[in-house]
Amino acid sequence: MREARVNPDDSRLDPPRQGPQGGDPLRLDQLPPRTAAVVDGVDDRGPGVPSDAAAASAAGVDQIARRLRELGFVDGERVEVVASGPFGGDPLLVQVGFTRFALRRSEAARVRVRRGAA
């Protein structure tokens, strides 16, 4: 399956927090369905973010990550994976705030979460 990878540039906007085990942080796409969790933050990633820092700051703000934050994926918000699509478990149906969103797994992988209620 897909590996959870932290982009070194992520620290620019949202310092990644370590998961409880001290390893890679838990990502929304790895969260089991119907499990109470809380958003930690959203990381910029993907092809929208070039690896060199100069280009990243010029044009590479990850639009998808920014939109996720605008939709309410912010620190401390309750989040839950409600269902997943019939083909390959993609996309995910995610409840955040009072709203449900369909997120592809690559989009959900930008969201760092921690288990448990807020």
Binding site: E70, Q95, R100, F101, E107
Partner: protein, 631 residues
């Protein structure tokens, strides 16, 4: 300001799914004008309404937006108009920010962005009836106090549900006020500032929610229950299949009697006019050009209206995004998105309403990709051609004791269209320059019962868009085609087929140079030309070329079948069948592509690639068939 001056400009702004358009329909009724914003395909909806004292207002229903950090063309238009930057659009005098009372967590954040513009605004807390039913308590006074803007409640689905808003607007028209409170954020480098503003917006949203809103549950129970079934991997797909079957059935079956009636009506009108006027070019122009052309436009209306009635109902009810959720994975693999499914399905009936249905795809790249492959879905107009050729050339024979060979060939033709569409979109995905990740990020709104008023207004808009924008082009091209088919007239005493001497006939003969390798003789080439107007016309054109006089298309097909069976080789027939899988020979479709993409480049690309595919596939089929001894 007095009531005598120009109407006050209002703009409705809010998140998608906040019930903004329903509120717009309630306030303006049928006094609406739908156009596009200058230079873009974003729909501009303007309407008029009257205040309690007769004051005139001009209302703009801005496209839904999640944020002023625009992620789509729609959102950029909304942002620029709210800020007063949009070229050719005056800045609105008052912004009416609409929020869904059941979804304030998301919508209040955007309301704060709107407030930050510092323009006169009123906050309309919509769907208060639903909120009360769900036991959600909202302290409007507290909201108004903390936000520093007037707050009113609205219920867009109730006749008097906009009264408080109108009263508030009347009061503001006398003395417009700008928001008194603003968020304070620390200044700093741009990047940290952007982040600080975003954080402050969320913090303020939370503060307002804690202060003014009590929610017993985060979601509606009915949504949870429905989603459990409708998004279920098995039952959800079964339900989707049932819905699709119903739509397909309706568009195919219910529209047919209406289309036959329009066809008969146009025929009757043509015959009456033809009898009333003296023989001559004017008679022919009116009957074969204008009336036939108008009939050819109006005949699409039943399918368009039935299809859009379903699509609008599905969209209003909240099911459409669920269908997109279920199918996104499949479509995404082929370079499309879940939202492409319904337009593509509609294209099996006719590509014209199918392409118009792509308006529900917000992402421009996904939308273009969907539009470009929509003509590959086998539309109902191709069926008569398939039926004629299959009946003439494919023997009625059982295959493996189960299937009928003719049925199998027909199925193969449909399947070839679908497979080609997936291949084409996959290739386009490979080749396009913009390989960036385009998000799904699809909101699944609460289920709602669609309101008849919203459905009717939506249907009316679609019908008008089709008749005005597409109809004109189809009519003009039909008349041009009539000209090609009718002139020059044969000299007196000429006994052959008048088509032969016409411009179209000459073009047909010239075309054989190109089409001979495909096995098409000059008669097929001539029939291809009127087939441009509508594919099914190819059958009656063949009848004309073979100098048959037949009362209608069915009779023409019956009489033609033995003739072409004798005249053509199997290779030619197969080649023509394959040609029709791809052939871009439908000016209505091309006109719709032009209208919906606003781009000659895209229209040209669609025409070019379809023609190239048709030519290559037919060439391959013919040469292979000849090599195998079917020539």
């Amino acid at each position: 300001m007095s009531a005598g001056t120009a109407p006050l400009r209002l703009a409705l702004v809010g998140n998608p799914n906040c019930g903004k358009t329903a509120l717009f329909n309630l306030l303006t009724g049928s006094r609406q004008k739908v156009a596009n914003y200058a230079g873009v395909t974003v729909e501009r909806k303007e309407g008029r309404m009257r205040g309690a004292d007769g004051r005139q207002y001009a209302l703009l229903d801005l496209p839904g937006a999640y944020s002023f950090q625009a992620a789509s063309l729609d959102e950029a238009v909304t942002r620029d108009i709210c800020r007063g930057f949009y070229p050719g659009e005056a800045a609105p005098d008052i912004l009416v920010c609409v929020v869904d009372a059941t979804n304030l967590r998301l919508h209040l954040r955007f309301a704060l962005e709107v407030r930050a513009l510092g323009r006169p605004m009123v906050l309309a807390v919509n769907m208060m009836d639903t909120a009360r039913r769900r036991g959600i308590a909202i302290d409007l006074q507290a909201l108004a106090r903390e936000l520093g803007v007037p707050v009113v409640e609205t219920v867009a689905v109730r006749r008097d549900g906009g009264r408080a808003l109108v009263a508030q607007l009347d009061a503001m028209a006398e003395a417009p006020t700008v928001p008194a409170v603003q968020l304070s954020t620390a200044d700093g480098p741009v990047e940290t500032h952007v982040q600080a503003v975003a954080d402050a917006l969320h913090a303020e949203t939370r503060r307002l929610l804690a202060l003014a809103v009590t929610m017993p549950r985060r979601t509606a129970q009915v949504d949870d229950a429905l989603d459990r079934w409708l998004l279920h991997p098995v039952f959800g797909l079964l339900a989707l299949a049932a819905v699709m079957f119903l739509i397909f059935q309706a568009v195919y079956a219910w529209a047919t009697p209406l289309m036959d009636a329009i066809d008969a009506g146009a025929g009757w009108l043509g015959a009456s006019v033809g009898a009333a006027l003296p023989e001559g070019p004017l008679n022919s122009l009116l009957v074969d050009g204008v009336i036939a052309g108008l009939g050819g436009v109006v005949i699409f209306l039943p399918q368009i209206l039935i299809l859009f009635a379903f699509i609008l109902a599905l969209e209003e009810s909240g099911y459409l995004p669920r269908a997109a959720f279920l199918l996104d994975r499949l479509m995404y693999g082929a370079g499309l998105s879940g939202r492409s499914f319904i337009p593509l399905l509609s294209s099996f009936a006719c590509a014209v309403p199918g392409i118009m249905a792509t308006r529900s795809i917000q992402d421009p790249r996904d939308r273009i990709a969907t539009i470009l492959v929509a003509p590959l879905m086998t539309c109902s107009a191709r069926l008569p051609v398939y039926a004629l050729l299959i009946a003439a050339f494919i023997p009625q024979r059982e295959v493996w004791g189960l299937f009928n060979l003719q049925g199998l060939v027909l199925f193969a033709l449909y399947a070839a269209g679908v497979v080609s569409a997936l291949l084409v979109s996959t290739v386009m995905k490979r080749w396009r320059r913009d390989k960036s990740e385009h998000a799904l990020l699809l909101e699944l709104p609460s289920y709602r019962l669609p309101h008849p008023r919203d459905l009717l207004i939506g249907l009316w808009e679609r019908a008008m868009i089709f008749l005005r924008r597409v109809g004109g082009i189809i009519l003009a091209l039909t008349i041009l085609l009539w000209f090609l088919l009718s002139f020059p007239t044969p000299p007196p005493g000429y006994t052959g087929n008048p088509l032969d001497v016409s411009l179209a006939g000459r073009i047909g003969h010239a075309m054989t140079v190109v089409f001979a390798p495909l096995g098409f003789d000059w008669r097929i080439c001539i029939a291809l030309i009127p087939g441009l107007a509508a594919r099914e016309v190819a059958v009656s054109s063949l009848a004309t070329v073979y100098a048959l006089s037949a009362a209608n298309d069915d009779a023409a097909a019956q009489a033609l079948s033995p003739l072409i069976a004798q005249d053509w080789t199997l290779a030619t027939a197969l080649s023509l069948l394959v040609w029709y899988i791809y052939a871009p020979m439908c000016i209505s479709t091309l006109a719709t592509i032009k209208r919906e993409t606003h781009s000659w480049k895209q229209t040209g690309f669609a025409t070019g690639y379809l023609f190239a595919l048709a030519y290559l596939a037919s060439l391959l089929t013919y040469q292979l068939a000849v090599a195998l001894g079917a020539g």
